[in-house]
Amino acid sequence: MHERHDLDLIAAFAREALADASPARALIESCPECAEYYRATRLVLEAVRTDPAPRLTDLERYRLHRAIWEEVAPEAPAASPTSRGRWWYRLAGAAAALAAVVAVGGVLGNGRAAEEPTMTTAARELFTAAPDAMADRDETLAPLSAGAEAFDTTEAASSAAGAGEAADGAGAPTVVFSAADLPEVASAFTDRVSAGEAVIEPTFDCAEWADADDLLAAEPAEMDGEPVWLLAHGERDAPSVEVVDAAECVVVYPHG
């Protein structure tokens, strides 16, 4: 092709990126080689346009993040007091507030919860509020309840420190519940997995599931004060959900 041929102009015309296409059109009509280059560029761009962009799967994304942090953990400098730590303290405070609300409700309800194992309204709100906190850990938690809003999270952090340390191995819990709530927690988690809202927490490290190809979600939680993982695997529209003890990586739900 001769140098006088304006290949940039032809390429821009092929991209339909010219405000005034008449010079390019004239060039193509008067120059067979330019016309050939135009058709070639159009063909390439059409092939590109119809070829779906490759994307990471959720599992690949999770493993990528996990691999990065496994690799850099020994060399990473100490984290600043912002982000994760502060986020955890806020959540610990909220969890402590929630525990107080549940405890009061239990007293007032005179054991009704044991007969009707349903999640409290506050617990349900915590379940839905927590993913937002996960998404942006520097933002204030969504309001949980009047009791939680009134709770001093700074003081709560120290009073809930035991639970915080217990949950550390499983990452910060997104939901705190009792064993009596298991069926409803599992059901709500199933809904979130099917809706594509549940995530694979990068710190999840129970190898049996982490290395499986059908892992859909792994979110930290706390059941009766013990760190657990809410796991989903299989098909997204009908996932198998399990609750796994975070310390031992053994299934605690469904039972036997």
Partner: protein
């Protein structure tokens, strides 16, 4: 965190803020993966290159001076990482083309240029040289401007244009455009 610009996230990551680096990865990992997969043509290898890319970025986060856009720097690291992987693979035999695929014969009947008989883009890209493939992936597939491609590849803009023009002609020929080149 989501509102912070890339350089701020990188600065936080350099101080050990894991959430900041996770956010940075989330913003760019799909595009880095797409570029690497197009260049190295193997999903597992592409995943390795993405991991190596972000490890390099994390380790050198404190060295980023903001003289170029963060994305330019990131994609330059990614391309160089892909080249490193390809060089390591050099001793291995070239991947065979799909069964039944033959390069287009410019003298064959034009009916053979039907879309159904064309190899897909991935297969066609595999037939290009590394330099042509990378240039075309960045410019035509990922849509980076010529100047940005030049900065990512650390070559002159004229070099990018030259490679791009030749890559398009070659790719079009492979894709079956005999009408243009026959």
């Amino acid at each position: 965190m989501k509102d912070l610009p890339d350089p701020d996230l990188l600065a936080r990551a350099a101080r050990g803020d894991r959430a900041a680096f996770d956010e940075l990865m989330r913003r760019h990992e799909d595009r880095v993966f797409a570029i690497c997969l197009r260049i190295v043509r193997d999903r597992e290898v592409a995943l390795d290159t993405v991991q190596d890319t972000f490890l390099t970025v994390f380790r050198k986060a404190g060295q980023f001076r903001g003289e170029s856009q963060f994305s330019t720097w990131l994609y330059r690291v990614a391309v160089n990482t892909c080249y490193d992987h390809l060089r390591r693979r050099k001793r291995r035999p070239t991947e065979p083309l799909p069964e039944g695929f033959e390069p287009p014969d410019r003298h064959v009947d034009s009916a053979l240029s039907s879309v159904e008989l064309r190899p897909d883009l991935t297969t066609a890209l595999a037939s290009l040289s590394e330099e042509f493939r990378t240039t075309l992936v960045l410019a035509d597939v990922e849509g980076f401007p010529i100047g940005e491609v030049a900065r990512i590849l650390d070559v002159a803009e004229g070099t990018v244009k030259s490679r791009l023009h030749r890559a398009r002609k070659e790719l079009a020929r492979i894709l079956g455009n005999r009408e243009a080149w026959g």
